[in-house]
């Protein structure tokens, strides 16, 4: 006991009463590039070249937002630059500085316009972009239905393919990220529903939507039941439990980088209304409470340089927001994804479905509606129309409460986006 007491006393005495050492490092407060390997790569490969140094912190959304609100309320802070998805940054309009003085040449107008967040100022600048893709083990290719083109699949062909694999191997081998951290809601919002209804919100409970959920039910029959545990499809792809999968490119990359010869990437399937896909846009913003505004601006400018954009691509598998010359030695995942993304976005029937906009802090509730619908229809087996009718009411109330007008592919609306 004495020894422990002495030890404790010694440690206590050794504690300097730690004044927060004033460091010149700029604090980069981000919801992206959170996985340890990506954070490490951001620090060592992307941000190391910035004069003065950068402290890169990838955070969960909860602490990320709480800290921002605290600094805004307290009126002074230590965060230099914010990094987040478009949806993370909406709702912070009052606390962000205008960035229109920064050179944005080479960035598309449509993308820049998103950064205004509905105001007449440039509140955030596009930082990097990504999307979702399909990936398959090469062993699965032999079961591809006759006449199906991997680069132009339809949902019916995908189901036939997954069924053929199921039959041939005796186990369902389609994989879907339906785990707690999985991005399942994005598949419904940006892929399945728009492909069948041409809409994410307005046609939520239409006959087309009922058909879409029926199609997903058919696919689910050939989906491995372990899918409800999957957050990152790269892991089951690597273990061989899953042969065909859908996920965010950053969550498939590891499989391609570890075993480049074993996997193929290909575009999302098409439905009657088109080949719907969801582009993902991350942005950079500077808070009004930033300790050194000039340094923050310089960091944003640094992040947009072509060489930084390429370094970011290597580190995070998020693609540049402006045209840059790609070096030949990019990682295997980039080499596999770039043509698949180009095929998908350039397809004649391509139908971009944007991430939710104008929902502010209700983005989580919005996604929860799609997750709940999935769980009730597919996992609990409730009647499709009943579930859609009930959830449509929740959705309508949410859109009215948020006052959010429609975003693509829904037709623009004057007031809150209607739910028919």
């Amino acid at each position: 006991m004495k020894r422990i007491l002495t030890l404790t006393a010694l440690m206590a005495a050794a504690l300097p009463l730690i004044p927060a050492a004033a460091q010149a490092e700029a604090l980069f407060w981000s919801t992206q590039a959170k996985p340890v390997e990506e954070s490490q790569a951001m620090r060592e490969q992307v941000l190391a070249g910035f004069a003065g140094g950068v402290d890169y912190q990838g955070m969960d959304n909860g602490p990320w937002l709480t800290r921002i609100q605290a600094e805004l309320q307290a009126g002074n802070g230590s965060i230099a630059v914010l990094g987040g998805l478009h949806g993370d940054l909406t709702g912070l309009e009052d606390g962000l500085m205008d960035l229109s003085t920064i050179d944005t040449s080479g960035i598309g107008e449509a993308m820049l316009a998103l950064g205004a967040l509905g105001t007449d100022q440039q509140l955030y600048l596009p930082w990097m972009q990504a999307t979702y893709l399909m990936a398959a083990n090469r062993e699965a290719l032999q079961y591809l239905p006759a006449g199906a083109d991997l680069n132009a699949l339809t949902y019916d062909q995908l189901i036939a393919w997954a069924a053929a694999v199921h039959e041939a191997t005796g186990t369902p081998r389609f994989g879907f990220p339906a785990g707690p951290q999985g991005l399942r809601h994005r598949f419904f919002q940006g892929f399945l529903l728009p492909a069948y209804t041409g809409s994410t919100v307005t046609e939520f409970r239409s006959a087309d939507a009922v058909e879409a959920w029926g199609v997903f039910g058919d696919l689910w029959a050939h989906t491995t039941p372990a899918s409800t545990n999957y957050s990152f499809m790269q892991e089951p792809l690597l273990t061989g439990d899953v042969w065909i999968a859908f996920d965010h490119v950053a969550r498939l990359a590891d499989a391609f980088n570890q075993r480049p010869d074993d996997f193929v990437a290909f575009p999302a399937p098409a439905g009657p209304k088109g080949r719907a896909y969801m582009p993902v846009l991350a942005g950079l913003a500077v808070m009004k409470t930033a300790p050194d505004a000039a340094q923050s601006m310089a960091l944003v400018e640094y992040m947009l340089r072509p060489e930084t954009q390429i370094a970011t691509l290597r580190a995070t598998n998020f693609f540049p927001v402006k045209a840059v010359d790609m070096p030949a030695d990019m990682p295997a995942s980039v080499q596999a994804f770039a043509p698949a993304i180009a095929t998908m976005t350039g397809a004649a029937d391509a139908l971009p479905a944007l991430l939710p906009m104008g929902l502010g802090d209700k983005g989580g509730q919005f996604s929860q509606i799609y997750t709940d619908t999935f769980e009730q229809i597919i996992l609990a087996g409730r009647p499709v129309q009943d579930v859609l009718d009930a959830q449509a009411e929740v959705l309508r109330a949410l859109m009215v409460e948020a006052g959010a007008p429609c975003w693509a592919p829904d037709a623009p609306s004057d007031g809150p986006c209607p739910v028919n």
Binding site: M1, D60, S231
Partner: protein
């Protein structure tokens, strides 16, 4: 006349069966604790490809790449040191405030005693994500934001209920007659406490200190919001780990668990003492 059963179960057989049940129970409990820890360590010491392969061998390949990644990972050692500092300060604050409170609760009757006990527990009723925002605003304004002391204050608040309640039952278990005897032999009240009661209560106090340490060590949300440059290990790693590849999850888990295991191993005899096992 009743007949004795044909095959009376002998005492020996009962004792043997009892031993079997005991041994099986102990084995199950030990495996329950050890298998996850073994899996964690074995996977942490495996090469990335091995972690996802199947079937897997039971002996890891002693590939230290995953673990080495963490020690090379910017700031892990600083974060570890911060975690230790916060946990130690939390421990001192929680025991320094909790033990006297526990003593007062067990020895004195005062108005509002029940209300006080209730209020102490109430501090655990509010989720931290709710409290973190106003706390952070206040901390930034008062200048204790991003300091070891500031975070330790929050953690001490979380640990205090346990410290108060454990020491309360501890002091209640020590007969007040011992103190009275000390008074008759010339001790003041204070001396009686320090010379008679505290030595008897020390193992239990140490145990509740361990609790305070572990509570602080494991806390993530407040640590993530209230520290920026002086991150604790959990705030630094935990949020990144749940979205990292499997082999790094295992390695990171090992990095988080091992220091806490070592600490508990070091103070184990005081911990056992709280459960009534003799101080060995």
């Amino acid at each position: 006349m009743t007949q004795a059963p044909d095959n009376p179960i002998s005492h020996d057989a009962v004792r043997r069966a009892g031993r079997w049940v005991f041994a099986t129970g102990v084995t199950v409990l030990v495996l329950w604790v050890l298998v996850p820890i073994w899996l964690l360590l074995a996977n942490a010491l495996s090469a990335p490809a091995e972690v996802t392969s199947f079937p897997r061998s039971w002996i890891p390949a002693f590939d230290t790449a995953s673990l080495a990644f963490f020690f090379g990972y910017g700031g892990v050692l600083d974060a570890l040191w911060n975690s230790v500092q916060v946990a130690v300060v939390t421990m001192i604050l929680a025991i320094g405030l909790g033990a006297p409170a526990g003593y007062a609760l067990s020895r004195f009757d005062f108005p509002g005693k029940e209300a006080f006990r209730f209020l102490v527990i109430m501090t655990r009723a509010f989720p931290l994500p709710l409290l973190a925002l106003p706390l952070a605003v206040m901390f930034i304004r008062t200048g204790i934001d991003d300091t070891i002391i500031g975070l330790a204050l929050v953690h001490a608040t979380l640990a205090l209920p346990f410290a108060v309640l454990i020491t309360f039952s501890l002091f209640s278990g020590i007969p007040v007659e011992l103190e009275e005897a000390a008074w008759t032999l010339g001790c003041t009240r204070f001396q009686a406490v320090t010379k008679v009661v505290l030595p008897l209560a020390a193992p239990g106090i140490a145990a509740s200190a361990v609790f305070a340490f572990v509570i602080s060590w494991n806390e993530v949300f407040a640590a993530a919001v209230l520290t920026i440059q002086n991150r604790t290990l959990t705030a630094f790693l935990l949020q990144s780990l749940d979205v990292s590849p499997l082999h790094l999850k295992f390695a990171g888990g090992a990095v988080l668990v091992i220091p806490a295991l070592l600490f508990i191993f070091a103070v184990r005899k005081y911990l056992f003492a709280m459960w009534g096992i003799a101080n060995r």
